[in-house]
């Protein structure tokens, strides 16, 4: 009885906290479906209409589509998708080497990886964009994807989880004659699915939020990614806030849906049943 009550309290806590986090987003979603004038009018003085549109309208959505948001969204999805797939491969490989393969200079290499994500991207974006210009990479998909691939954070998180896999598994595989790649692919990757999702999120969100870099390396509006399209709603003479809210809401939903779908992979690890250093 006490346990049921305890679990009930916890469940209630979970709901309350989630709703608190959700509240500002409810405001965002409501604002996507009403005129910006109504949005601002209902925020002060406060009325319950702040969260529920008085005059529901799809104008913002059609205004977003008219401004080419679907193309921008497609561009964002393509760039982010490629970055996640290629980035996971590249980062997981590097993490594997840094966590499992013994070699001289491992610490030093890891330090370089750590240093690389300390440097804020904005600080190097302008000189880097000039280099890309010199290499003839402006207005290319490659230019948009490349900076997202070398992601020290993704390597770091995967390395931490690879360190948690018992080395006895690798040793046994070695004795069976398996090479490093086999061990990587067949042992380590399947055992660290939640970490891969985490790394995938890091890679994905880097591109999903990318704003400055695309502006610097692309000049054609067909290549705009979604955050750039949103920024262009802030013109010199007019600002279409309704469109901003609608586009922001769409951008927010997509990663959330993906994460929701991937929740089933967050299962308790079966690998660590056994020795753990």
């Amino acid at each position: 009885m006490g346990r049921k009550l305890g679990r009930g309290v916890l469940a209630g806590l979970a709901i309350v906290v989630s709703l608190l986090f959700l509240l500002p987003l409810l405001w965002l979603f409501a604002s996507a479906f009403r005129s910006s004038t109504e949005t601002f009018a209902s925020s002060s003085p406060l009325s319950w209409h702040a969260l529920w549109p008085r005059d529901f309208t799809m104008d913002n959505m059609s205004s977003a589509i008219d401004a080419g948001f679907l193309t921008a969204l497609r561009n964002s999805v393509v760039v982010a998708g490629i970055t996640v797939v290629a980035g996971l491969l590249v980062s997981a490989s590097a993490a594997f080497a840094l966590a499992v393969i013994p070699f001289r200079g491992r610490t030093a290499t890891f330090s370089i990886v750590v240093l690389s994500f300390l440097v804020p991207f904005e600080a190097i974006a302008i000189p880097l964009s000039r280099s890309f210009g010199e290499w003839g990479l402006t207005n290319t998909l490659l230019a948009l994807v490349l900076p997202g691939l070398g992601n020290g954070l993704a390597v770091f998180i995967l390395r931490q989880f690879f360190l948690g896999v018992p080395s006895s598994l690798a040793e046994a595989a070695h004795l069976d004659g398996a090479g490093w790649f086999r061990i990587f692919w067949s042992i380590y990757l399947p055992l660290t699915k939640p970490a891969m999702i985490g790394a995938g999120l890091i890679l994905f969100l880097f591109q999903w939020q990318a704003y400055l870099w695309p502006i610097l390396v692309t000049s054609r509006s067909e290549l705009d990614v979604a955050p750039v399209a949103i920024a262009k709603a802030f013109g010199a003479f007019t600002t279409d806030y309704g469109r901003v809210f609608a586009e922001t809401a769409i951008l927010a939903i997509i990663p959330a849906l993906v994460l929701l779908a991937l929740q089933r992979y967050f299962v308790t690890s079966i690998a660590t049943a056994g020795s753990k250093e």
Binding site: A14, S18, S43, A94, T109, E122, A123, L201, A256, S269
Partner: protein, 303 residues
């Protein structure tokens, strides 16, 4: 690797093969990181020793440490450093503590945990500019949050418009965004702990708090190190909300180093002072990250 010897010709071949394998696994990442991050950073570092008119197309002249000299004599620079440290010393422990508590809460096999996790994560999926606008409007002296406070009978809080509350408001904004994100990694870490340990603790009669501190936390050390370091970095380089909402104010209370770096580099086209400040910021971060690795990263081979 206790069953294998570490000397002799077979060991050497093995080491050689390991080194080759390591190179193969690391090559793409290292190439990308060096070309796309390290080298431009070195260029930026070089800029810190040059000076010229902002935005000028003419090549700058080399001035050695003069830029740093001027920077270190500037009162507003030191104020930036102070404000940056204050913000970070407050926001990092807060975010990680809340993320950890939420991660623990949402791994108790409660119904619909997947949904709650996604809802709490949702803010970090919103484009940063969008979140900033939402909270900018939300925390207005006459906005919805103050409207709620008003209903509860509390006085209006100036939030972003007050020099005394701007850092707290930034912390709220950054935490709303960040907590869910870091929580996901901690959940992955919690799920990685074999239930065998919990069963053993249960058999030994350990209560929930004891279990948490003796088993959960130590086993969470590796993901926790990641979250600690990554969160620290993320908060040190945060600038977009300052740029959009406060311009470093009121009264320079939110003039964080990264915002100043961005403002000087991008708005004022002065890459020289901007690079010098960047190097200071990097130095601060490196020191703190080293301390964090010392605290949490100790027993792994090669750390």
């Amino acid at each position: 690797m206790s069953t294998m010897s570490s000397t002799g010709p077979r060991a050497r071949t093995r080491r050689h093969r390991n080194a080759l394998a390591a190179v193969a696994f690391l090559a793409p990442t290292l190439a990308l990181i060096i070309v796309l991050r390290i080298m431009p950073t070195a260029t930026a570092a070089g800029d810190a020793m040059r000076s010229g008119l902002p935005g000028s197309l003419a090549p700058p002249e080399f001035v050695g440490l003069e830029v740093f000299g001027r920077l270190f004599q500037s009162e507003s620079f030191w104020q930036s450093v102070r404000q940056t440290l204050v913000f970070n010393l407050l926001v990092n422990p807060l975010q990680i503590l809340i993320a950890l508590l939420l991660a623990v809460l949402l791994t108790r096999n409660l119904p619909a945990s997947g949904l709650w996790r996604t809802l709490i994560f949702l803010p970090s999926a919103v484009p940063l500019a969008g979140s900033t606008i939402i909270w900018g409007i939300g925390l207005r002296p006459e906005g919805p949050v103050n409207g709620l406070l008003d209903l509860a009978g509390m006085t209006t809080q100036p939030c972003f418009t007050s020099p005394d509350q701007v850092i707290a408001s930034m912390i709220i904004l950054a935490s709303w965004i960040g907590v869910g994100y870091w929580m996901v990694f901690l959940i992955a870490g919690l799920k990685d702990i074999s239930p065998v340990y919990y069963e053993a603790a249960c058999i030994d009669g350990a209560g929930p708090l004891r279990t948490f501190f003796s088993i959960t936390l130590p086993m969470l050390r590796r993901p926790l190190l990641f979250v600690l370091v990554a969160d620290t970095v993320a908060n040190f380089v945060l600038f977009a909300p300052v740029h959009i909402l406060t311009g470093g104010g009121p009264e320079k209370q939110s003039n964080f180093l990264m915002y100043d770096i961005y403002n000087r580099g991008y708005q004022l086209s002065d890459p020289y002072t901007s690079s010098a400040e960047l190097l200071v910021l990097l130095a601060l971060m490196i020191v703190i990250v080293i301390v964090q690795f010392r605290l949490l990263g100790s027993s792994d081979a090669g750390e």
